[in-house]
Assembly symmetry: D2
Homo-oligomer: 89 residues x 4
């Protein structure tokens, strides 16, 4: 269900990016182009948030409730890693 | 020339986003999907940087060297505005 | 232990911010001031990452392994929420 | 005037950071600490925006209206550079 929503958003984002390509081809004003790119980035943030939410409620919960210590460590490290990258974007 | 480069990058990014859609359809691991979304965001940052660079060297320089005070104020405010949005993404 | 490290980093960051105040008082070049502010922000990202890492390994793991469903939901929502804010900064 | 405002904000931010240190010493809940760090980062973004605004209206306008081509190139490159870093934070 989360994936269905994320997929729809990504299809919309793909169309948005084609729109920005047309803006460049039509030599539109630079600042307007940058603003549309920033709108796409905000939309991508929302997709990431949705996917992380689903991931925490499914895989992460299963892993942490399980008895495989290495697996628990792995899922925790992955979350720290994408949070760290989110901070750098 | 700047626009040509930006256009090429956006075409590549469009393909990247279609690839992420396929990852979702194939039910790939969430963290891998999020990492690909973050890669697209980094690529979009580079496109914005390129376009801003061209804009500063062309429109902004022309406006600031011109005598239309309102126009000079306008280009300066636009740059502050996209910098502010960049900080919020 | 995580907190000890985070505390040390925050003391260093506090000194860094006092240094930036002196730069403003001494009328230093704006771009150099902005670069120092960006360095502080990168340092704060590292502190957040450290604290989140400790949190996932302690509180979150305990909550998710526990039987209180509302508590499990709460810790998961908190992580989604700070990830979402990280994306907006 | 811009600097006066930025200085006041940085003094407030310094106090905020000391408050976060106390939160760590008092072993406050991790998520609350991370939220306060994110609030400081948002406040620092506002300071950067203010300083850039002043810089564009003063130094950049002077340089671009001047006849020193190398100087004009330098101020433009600096803005591209801090915009690029803002995108990476």
């Amino acid at each position: 269900m989360h994936h269905e929503d994320a997929l729809q958003r990504l299809k919309y984002i793909e169309g948005h990016i084609r729109g920005i390509q047309r803006m460049l081809e039509d030599d539109k004003y630079c600042i307007d182009v940058i603003r549309q790119i920033q709108a796409v980035q905000a939309a991508l943030n929302k997709v990431s948030n949705k996917i992380l939410e689903g991931h925490l409620n499914a895989c992460v919960t299963t892993a942490i409730r399980g008895d495989d210590l290495a697996e628990r460590e792995r899922v925790v490290n992955e979350i720290t890693s994408i949070f760290s990258t989110a901070n750098e974007l």
